[in-house]
């Protein structure tokens, strides 16, 4: 069983959303597909940026022949939310709809799509493609997609086996807001490239500190991330300590913010995952911009003997199930019916506005990681309070806001190389170095000590460690990409 996770991005300078985000620094657009069924893709478009400039974009989008329907739902000083029905037929399709439709045709309309982000002139699609594909086949399909689309700058950001638990771990921040900001700055300045494009003095100058504290802070960050990589249990420890910590740098409108919430959500799905060790589920309510919708896309990752048990239970509760795909390791199902799932969307829309939405939620054991995207200008403490009310209404238990963070990705980070895995050799050198105390402060060993232990040259140790560190840091920051 292999469920690939695919992140791909491309650009088309004349496409209105790409052009708008390229020409207006800070402007971003997010497209959420609420119904992928042809001949019309039902979508909700949120554009953040100065609304003085958004009017012309909306007129252009509405005038496109492929816009089967167009409705403005909300306007705020920094965002506009519209419902767009985008035709998938003929040559008059809108360019972004053509790209999305081609992606869905390639990977299946049952793919769990995260909202499509357009920023800095580039469109990025992230999906848990729920068809049984290995990484190689997924890459081949991406090549087919690249050939089929008249888009340029095609870049595969990530192709990996989809592991909800790993994803859940990756998503929970390990760094505090200052550290997060510093590592992003260092990355954007090329500090972690080989050869480095800047040195510590350059970074220190940018942040207004002397070299020594910057060096110490970066070392702390590297140690935290490397420890988290080598010993994931340290990540869980950190998670517990990080209750309520915000990573939102602005907390203002005009940006997308992601709220990460851990909760025990009563219901058949949680009971199933808690009862069956190793079973996991990912769910996403399918709702429009008004919070309406009574269906849920559910991926159950478990053997058929187990997932059938859950599906039977859901049917017994009166839900209508449409199995979209299944194999020996998973089933993807559209669940329809009143209270189709643990859907707090009505409460979210009431408290955070119609531009709030849920990304796919991950269930591991009895706990669910829920991710909510907001654009409203609310202080973090009010977001936490409103989430408590949503959780209370939805009867969630032990709800904990793990983080609130900006989803903004600096344009300079968009040029990060493809996220690659640490190789077995790099992993081995890293583990030996860690065991010998290389990542302690002060260091417990030298590069020569590691080289002596492994019987390789100091230069080879240095190269392997640098490459591994770079990949781990890229992977951490790249999570938001």
């Amino acid at each position: 069983m292999a469920l690939p996770e695919v992140v791909v991005e491309f650009e088309r300078p004349e496409e209105p959303l790409c052009r708008f985000t390229a020409e207006n620094p800070g402007a971003r657009a997010m497209l959420r597909v609420t119904d992928p069924t042809p001949p019309t893709l039902s979508t909700v478009l949120t554009v953040v940026g100065d609304t003085d400039k958004t009017g012309a974009l909306l007129r252009e989008l509405r005038a496109q022949p492929g816009a089967a329907s167009f409705e403005i739902v909300t306007i705020t000083p920094y965002s506009v939310v519209c419902k767009i029905g985008a035709s998938t037929n003929g040559n008059a399709r809108m360019a972004w709809a053509e790209a999305l439709d081609a992606f869905l045709e390639t990977f299946g309309r049952d793919a769990l799509l995260e909202p499509v982000m357009v920023e800095g002139g580039r469109m990025r699609i992230r999906a848990m493609a729920v068809r049984n594909l290995d990484t190689r086949r997924a890459l081949e399909k991406l090549q087919e997609l690249q050939k089929a689309l008249p888009w340029s700058g095609f870049r595969v950001v990530r192709v990996a086996d989809f592991d909800p638990v790993a994803m859940s771990d990756r998503l929970v921040p390990m760094l505090d807001p200052d550290q997060e900001e510093l590592v992003r700055l260092a990355l954007s300045m090329g500090y972690y490239e080989s050869p480095r494009r800047c040195n510590l003095e350059d970074i220190a100058r940018r942040v207004g500190l002397s070299v020594s504290p910057v060096h110490k802070k970066l070392k702390d960050i590297e140690h935290t991330l490397i420890n988290g990589y080598l010993d994931p249990s340290t990540r869980k420890e950190r998670k517990r300590r990080r209750h309520g910590v915000s990573l939102s740098r602005r907390g203002e409108g005009g940006t997308f913010r992601e709220v990460l919430v851990h909760a025990t959500i009563p219901g058949a799905i949680t009971e199933f995952c808690a009862r069956n060790r190793g079973a996991r589920a990912v769910w996403q309510p399918l709702h429009d911009a008004t919070g309406r919708g009574d269906s849920l896309l559910l991926v159950v990752i478990a053997p058929p003997t187990l997932y059938r048990e859950l599906l039977k239970q859901l049917e017994a509760e009166g839900k209508t199930l449409e199995v979209l795909s299944r194999d020996e390791g998973h089933a993807t199902v559209r669940v329809t019916g009143r209270g189709a799932g643990p859907d707090p969307i009505a409460g979210l829309v009431r408290r955070f506005g119609r531009d709030a939405y849920l990304k796919p939620a991950v269930v591991e054991g009895s706990r669910t990681l829920v991710r909510i995207v907001l654009t409203r200008r609310l202080p973090d403490d009010e977001v936490v309070k409103a989430m408590e009310e949503v959780a209370l209404e939805a009867a969630w238990q032990d709800q904990e806001v793990v983080a609130i963070r900006d989803l903004a990705v600096e344009a300079s980070l968009l040029s990060l190389p493809r996220l690659e895995k640490v190789t077995p050799r790099q992993d081995e050198v890293l583990r030996i170095g860690h065991a010998l105390g290389y990542y302690r402060t002060p260091r417990g060993c030298t590069l020569e000590d590691i080289a002596g232990t492994l019987g390789i040259s100091t230069n080879a140790v240095h190269k392997n460690l640098t490459a591994a560190e770079q990949k781990i840091i890229y992977a951490y920051v790249g999570t938001g990409l």
């Binding site: 003085d52 909306l58 739902v73 705020t76 009431r350």
Partner: protein, 136 residues
Amino acid sequence: MSEVAPEEFRILVVDDEQEVLDALALTLRRAKNFRAKLTTANDPLRALEVLERERFHLVLADYRMPNMNGVELLKTVRERWPETVRALVTGYSDVEIAMEAMDKAKIHYYVQKPWNNDELRLTVYEALKGGWSKGG
């Protein structure tokens, strides 16, 4: 908008239908996270008279009204009291109305009818707290 204590917020709600006006006012009075002095007007010309006498932080206007539609009213508000936050409430999902409101009145908020009470309160709270006026 300069910072004011929450109890000093002043909102003018304009709608020609008394029932809608009452419902809007009731919704805002029941807000938990802000308190404001509410003034209502069931005619846009009457609203302008009120605006001549008193400064408001927010004007919330319906689109379809006699004598002057909501966009025209908010356009006047923008010209004469540019620091006032302007919000349009409409039961029409016509894109042109929204566009016209963005272009002519430079509205800060657009709320569709039927409104959701919590969402409306959130919008007003955000408008009052943020002081989003762009000065015209």
